[in-house]
Every structure is written in C-alpha cells, then in structure tokens.
C-alpha cells in the first residue's frame, strides 16, 4: 500500500515543485545569457532577472517547508482526511509516505538549486576551478584514508536523519494542534516550540552531566595522531546521528499513537 500512497503523494506534490524547478532553470539560463552579453543597455533587466533568480531559490526553500506542512494537514487532518483515513491502509503508512516524499522534495530542491547555480556559473574558467576543487577533495579523502569516506557517509546520513527528524517534529506538532477543537494552529505552534524546549533541556542535561568527560576527551585529542582525530570525528558524527534518530523516532511514535488512538476529525 505504501507504493500506491507514494504514487499519489508524489503526483499531488510534483504539480507544485516541477514548475518551480523548471522556472528556476529557465531563469538560470536567462541570467547566463545576460552575463554573456553583458551590455550596458541590458543592465536593468539583468538586475531584475538576477533578483528573481534569488527570489525563486528562496521561494523553493519556503515552498518545501510549506508543502510539508500543508500536505500533512490537508490530506490527513482536513476534509481529505475523511478519505485518507478510510482507506484500508495502516496509520503509520500514511506517516511513512508523507515523510519520504517530504525528504525527496527537500533533497531535490537542494540539488536543483545547486544545478541552477552550476548552470549559471558554468564557463571554461569556473569548470576548471570546480574540477580542481573536486580533485583536491578526493586527494584529501585519500590522504585521510577510509575514515574520510566514513565521515562523508556519516555526514550524509546525519543530514537525512536531521531532515526526517525535523519533518516528524512538525507532523507531531500539527497532530497535537489538531487535538484542540478551537485553537488548532495556536496549539500546534505551541507544541512545536515545546518540542524545541524539551530538546534543549535534554541536550543541556546530557552535556552538563558529561561535561568533564567530553572536555577531557577533546583535550587529549589535541595531541593525538591524525588517525585518532579522524576516528574521533566519526564517533562525534555517530553520536549526533543516534541523537537525531532518537528524537525522530520519538516524534514518529508520538504521531502514530495520536493518529491511531486520539484522532478526532471534525
């Protein structure tokens, strides 16, 4: 069933994102043209199109967040929820579907923005520079050894888990907001802020209780060999991944429990 839900969720959201992406690439090309021509009498349109290009990138970022919120709220907790929740689908499958599609658009939005900037900036000189940077990175990774690749992988995992955990905290907040019959938005925002406070408290409690250990560890690292430092970085990233994962999982189970046991569609 997840596959079918994903199909419709992607269809519903692609209508919004794909035109935005196309527009961004078009504006990248227009800007590229202006830069290539670089004529005085085209200065004003050039500035306008450059501004619009930046505005579209900002717009895509905002849209990614807005669509995440809006799809969850509209498709599950508003009128459409009457259909969504009467489909023979497990509750958590709805969350899985929304979360995966949100992640997908977040990744695609970043990639498209990067591609558009690349399109804009691509000429013989920049291509050489980009190539050089790329080669330097590979060299650096090779010098560090397999640990370097591990760090790269962990960073990617951290980003994915970070996005998912953030998305899930939004879902949990919206779901809590929906428990109120009158002040849904207010309670939702309150819940979201509350989550932030709880995360802060847990983080500072953990940090202060291990303060001595942590600072001694980093102190000892200063004199340690490079390989030990690389290993330390891996541990730190792993700890962050676990940390994010624990919060994400908590939001996931909270949302699922609320949708299953406390659902109250108007």
């Amino acid at each position: 069933m997840l596959k079918k839900l994903l199909k419709y969720e992607i269809e519903a959201t692609a209508r919004i994102f794909l035109p935005m992406y196309a527009l961004l690439i078009v504006f990248a090309l227009i800007n590229k043209f202006f830069i290539a021509v670089n004529a005085d009498y085209l200065k004003i349109p050039q500035v306008i199109s450059a501004t619009l290009f930046v505005a579209i990138i900002v717009g895509i970022c905002v849209m990614t967040l807005v669509v995440t919120i809006q799809r969850y709220n509209k498709n599950l907790l508003s009128d459409e929820g009457y259909l969504s929740f009467t489909l023979p689908v497990k509750t958590h499958t709805h969350i899985d579907c929304k979360m995966i599609v949100s992640l997908m658009w977040a990744v695609l939005s970043v990639l498209t923005s990067l591609v558009s900037i690349l399109v804009l900036a691509a000429n013989d000189k920049t291509m050489v520079t980009i190539q050089q940077v790329f080669i330097d990175c590979i060299n650096l990774l090779n010098k560090v050894g397999p640990g370097g690749y591990m760090i790269l992988l962990e960073s990617l995992v951290l980003m994915v888990i970070g996005v998912l955990s953030q998305v899930l905290s939004i879902y949990a907040a919206i779901t809590i907001g929906n428990l109120s019959s009158k002040h849904k938005i207010l309670l939702g925002i309150g819940a979201y802020l509350g989550f932030g406070v709880i995360e802060q408290i847990i983080t500072s409690v953990l940090a202060s209780s291990f303060e001595g250990t942590i600072s001694r560890y980093f102190e000892s690292l200063r004199l340690a060999a490079v390989s030990d430092q690389v290993l330390a970085a891996q541990y730190v990233l792993l700890a962050l991944v676990i940390y994010m994962f624990v919060f994400g999982a908590a939001y996931y189970f909270l949302t699922n429990w609320l949708l299953k046991k406390k659902l109250n569609l108007e």
């Binding site: 069933m1 079918k4 199909k7 419709y8 519903a12 209508r15 498709n75 009128d79 459409e80 929820g81 009457y82 259909l83 929740f85 009467t86 489909l87 023979p88 689908v89 497990k90 019959s181 046991k261 406390k262 659902l263 109250n264 569609l265």
Partner: protein, 232 residues
C-alpha cells in the same frame, strides 16, 4: 456473526457536549437501515466512530465483530457529509484512485452511473458545483461492492430528480448480504427504500423498529411518526 454493526455502551464526549450517551445497538446483516434524527442528534458521530475517524470516549463499536481497523475499512464504503475529493484530480483520476485502494471497486459500474447522471469524467473536481461533487462522491461509494455502506446525508445536496435515481441505484446495486445505513432527515424521500429505522435524539436511541411494524401497528408513515416523536 449475524450483526454487521454493534455498539456496546458507546459514549462519545466532545468538549462541552455529550454526542452519544451509552448507546447499545445492533444492526443485522442484509438490511437497509435509516438512521434518523434531527440535526446534532449524534448520527454523524456514530458513523464517524464506525469508520475510526474519531475514537470513542468509552464503550465499543464493532463492525462484523471487529473494532475499526484496516480489516473493517476494507468492508465499509463510507459517504461522509462533506466532500473529501482531492480537488486537483479529475473524475477519471478519482476512479483510478478508488480502484487502486479498494479491491471491491467496480469501475464499469462507476462509469455507467456517471453517464446516467451526465457527469463528464474528464472534468476536474475543482471546477464542479457542490451538487455534482456530491454525485461523484456517491457514485464512487456505491460502485464498491462493500459489506456495509454508511451513507451520511447522501441526498442532501442533489436535486430531486437525481435523488430518485440515486435511491434506485442504492437499492438495485446492493447484494443480499450487504447492509446500508442511511443517515438523513429527509425521511419522506428515503422512506420507501428502508427496511428498518433507528430514531436517535441527543445521543440516545429513541426507537428501533422495522418499517412494516410502524406501518401496521402505528398505522403511520415513518415520516409522520418522526414528526410526532421529534415534535418541537
């Protein structure tokens, strides 16, 4: 299991309002039942509880012996009192959607009914009038071969001519062991198709009876009895 729907001491409390007050009720299989009551009497609440869209405060609601869940959702075809269609789709998309998720959905039936009611399946739902949307929704719901149909105000928004056709389709479409529960206050219109009635008021079941009994014992139509029971 002879009863398709069973409520055991079912209570639903909304902030500031008791929507269902310890309801005990059984609905046998293979009947067309009218769930009748004035506005705000708890009709929609009961239907939403059966669909798992809201959760009971206490007590139980069982569908074919099971609490609302994935198995009961497979057998219930539900028409809510509001439009739940994804407005970016057209009717064809919606039919695909239903066929994708419900194994008991009969596409042919849906297209036949659309043709009869003059709805163009390539039209987008966004551009349709409220009444047309309601028709589409009812067609989708009735094109399933479900065990239990829960129709919440199915004819409220459509014109009288379409009403007759819709009621005809409801009776002619349903199979022997399927049950239909129709909630409405337009009693005169649905009376002729009902086998049984449940009168509900302020969260309490006031009366359950077969339509024949009402006609024979009380010598009244359901509509007349309703007006008497719920006299303001």
């Amino acid at each position: 299991m002879e009863n398709i729907l069973e409520c055991q001491n079912l209570v639903k409390f909304f902030p500031g309002c008791l929507a269902l007050n310890s309801v005990n009720l059984t609905v046998p299989k293979g009947r067309i039942v009218g769930l009748l009551g004035p506005n705000g009497s708890g009709k929609s609440t009961m239907i939403k509880l059966a669909n798992g869209l809201i959760t009971p405060t206490s007590g139980k609601i069982l569908i074919d012996g099971m609490e609302p869940g994935i198995e009961t959702k497979k057998m219930i075809s539900y028409l809510p009192e509001r439009t739940y269609l994804n407005d970016w789709m057209n009717v064809n998309n919606m039919i695909e959607f239903f066929a994708d998720f419900y194994q008991d959905f009969n596409k042919q039936k849906a297209y036949d009914m659309l043709r009869r009611l003059g709805v163009d399946p390539s039209h987008r739902l966004k551009t349709m009038s409220k009444g047309t949307k309601e028709k589409v929704q009812l067609i989708l719901v009735m094109s399933r071969e479900a065990k239990l149909y829960l129709l919440d105000e199915p004819i409220g928004g459509v014109d009288p001519a379409a009403r007759d056709y819709i009621l005809d389709t409801i009776i002619s479409n349903y199979s022997e062991d399927a049950t239909i529960i129709i909630s409405t206050h337009l009693i005169a219109d649905v009376e002729k198709v009902l086998d049984e009635v449940i009168f509900i008021n302020q969260g309490n079941i006031v009366l359950t009876s077969t339509v024949d009994d009402i006609r024979e014992k009380e010598n009244k139509s359901v509509d007349a009895l309703f007006r008497e029971v719920f006299k303001c």
